[in-house]
């Protein structure tokens, strides 16, 4: 398993000095969180409350990329491949927590929520999954395939004007993935794929809350371009493995299998999907 660099770094760079108007400094008695390497390798910052990093025996593999970059398709295929290789697989994704997943759906449908509240609801959803789904799986040696991770959540917040440093701090207790793939596609390609899927573009996919354009197409393109830029900012610091999402499904899948195979010690990474998933293999 290739461990990401153990150096403690913020998730996203922020050249902002701490303002003199901070309500109060953190109590002086506070000890730095990551005193040993185990913690720093496992978490971005603070360790999760009541958790011992040495318990992790599984692998956390993250797929990031904008709407229409092919993440879900690739995850379905990877799950089948890994299971055929004998690995237990757990998946996670945004808004899938038992705690607030449905509440977020309702908030999005009503569109009556401010950016910060929505951001914190997503954070709640994220950590509920970390504690109830991802960690238990990693403790039992399972491979966790995450459909999006904190990077999407940070990017969405930053483009809406939420302080980058604030968001990095918020997700400091997130586990560092063992592998983070970034399926990078042009927003124009993503638009075509998304439109084909649903014959429509949703309010949030197009970032319509941001009043970027009255024109749905341009709103989508501008919004996704902003998100893409944020990914570029985060890519280097977080060892993203960038893949060309414009390539065919089998081609992208092959690259994913190679990297994951290396990490998990699977030598032969040949795979062709079963009949059930054949329709994805285009």
């Amino acid at each position: 398993m290739s461990a990401p660099e153990s150096e403690k770094q913020p998730i996203a760079p922020e050249p902002a000095p701490v303002s003199a108007t901070t309500p109060a400094p953190a109590p002086a008695a506070h000890k730095p969180a990551a005193s040993d390497d185990g913690v720093a390798q496992t978490f971005f910052g603070e360790p999760l409350v009541g958790f011992d990093p040495s318990e992790i025996t599984g692998s956390l593999v993250v797929l990031e990329g904008m709407d229409g970059s092919g993440r879900s398709t690739q995850i379905a295929l990877l799950q089948e491949w890994l299971e055929s290789e004998g690995f237990a697989v757990q998946t996670s994704g945004l808004r899938r927590s038992n705690l607030v997943g449905k509440d977020i759906d309702e908030l999005l449908a009503k569109n009556a929520v401010t950016r910060l509240t929505l951001g914190l609801m997503y954070a709640t959803d994220f950590f509920d999954q970390v504690e109830h789904r991802i960690l238990p799986a990693l403790r039992s040696g399972t491979v966790v395939l995450a459909d999006r991770y904190i990077f999407t959540l940070i990017a969405r917040g930053v483009v809406r004007g939420i302080n980058r440093d604030y968001l990095s701090g918020l997700y400091a207790m997130a586990l560092r993935p063992h592998l983070t793939f970034w399926l990078n596609v042009r927003p124009e390609t993503a638009f075509a794929r998304e439109f084909k899927k649903a014959q429509a573009i949703s309010y949030w996919e197009a970032g319509r809350d941001m009043s970027l354009s009255h024109d749905l197409y341009w709103s989508f393109i501008r919004y996704q371009t902003m998100i893409q830029r944020e990914f570029e900012v985060m890519a280097k610091r977080n060892n993203f493995i960038e893949l060309d999402g414009e390539a065919s499904v089998p081609a992208v899948n092959k690259q994913l299998r190679q990297k994951i195979g290396e990490s998990l010690g699977i030598r032969a990474t040949k795979y062709s999907p079963s009949a059930a998933l054949q329709h994805l293999w285009r």
Binding site: T22, P23, A33, G45, L99, D103, T114, L116, T117, T124
Partner: protein, 253 residues
């Protein structure tokens, strides 16, 4: 009790762009024209009674004010109920859910009202989260960052009552303590009353740590109600230019 300087407030003016710092940066009290008064303290410290009396005093005087409570928005009510019933909440998600709830109140009520030159009274504020969540084991630095979007109060009253007094007030008035209220999730004791005591002791300790760093105005929660209220009113009148919020007398005879 330390005398705080009266903060120079800006005029309420219309601007095309928000003059407030972006979310994630603290909003100093001089950034908004309104005034924010906060009460904090452990359960049973008498803070809610005192804030209610302060509110009545100001209401009767006709001042422009808004009252807000911790954990009151319908936004997260169903999630909190679900989390509590099924005991899904961990220290981190408990903390985040309250932060989301507070952010909603902050962005939709507290900040607009402070910008609109209102007097805002808050029964519990971010310090409740700092004390309670730190008592549950959340890292203080993470908590401080989490609430960095909150406006800094003009006055924070901290009602301090000895642990026994506060605990007695709660235990005698309530038939059964709830699971999270008693801090049962911490596994301090199997007995709810005992667990509640231990949990409250931790919270009290966390509050005491903030007295200096967060400019708390400490009041003695064991004093008679009317005496305490007199102190509180005097401090408010001294530190806040109440005339700003007085009814505008337009019709003079």
């Amino acid at each position: 009790m330390e005398a705080q300087e009266t903060v120079q407030k800006p005029q309420r003016t219309e601007t095309t762009k928000s003059t407030l710092p972006q979310p994630g940066r603290p909003i100093p009290s001089r950034a908004y024209p309104g005034a924010l008064i906060v009460v904090e303290g452990t359960d049973g410290s008498g803070k809610s009674t005192q804030l209610y009396l302060l509110k009545r005093w100001l209401e009767i005087g006709g001042y422009r004010l808004h009252f807000t409570e911790w954990n009151s928005s319908p936004l997260v009510k169903s999630a909190t109920r679900r989390g509590k019933q099924r005991r899904l909440l961990t220290p981190v998600t408990f903390s985040l859910l309250h932060a989301a709830d507070f952010a909603d109140r902050c962005e939709r009520q507290i900040m607009p009202l402070l910008q609109g030159d209102y007097l805002v009274l808050a029964d519990r504020y971010i310090y409740t989260a700092f004390a309670r969540d730190a008592a549950r084991g959340c890292p203080p630095r993470w908590l401080r960052n989490l609430y960095r979007f909150a406006p800094v109060p003009d006055i924070t009253f901290y009602f301090r009552a000895p642990l026994e007094v506060a605990v007695d007030r709660i235990l005698s008035g309530r038939p059964r303590l709830k699971y999270y209220e008693a801090g049962m999730d911490l596994g301090l004791s199997f007995d709810r009353a005992e667990s509640f005591k231990l949990f409250q002791a931790r919270i009290l300790e966390e509050y005491d740590k903030m007295v200096e760093s967060d400019n708390f105005v400490v009041l003695d929660g064991t004093l008679p109600v009317n005496k305490l209220q007199k102190q509180m009113r005097a401090i408010v009148a001294e530190k806040i230019d109440l005339n700003r919020f007085a009814p505008r007398l337009e019709v003079a005879e």
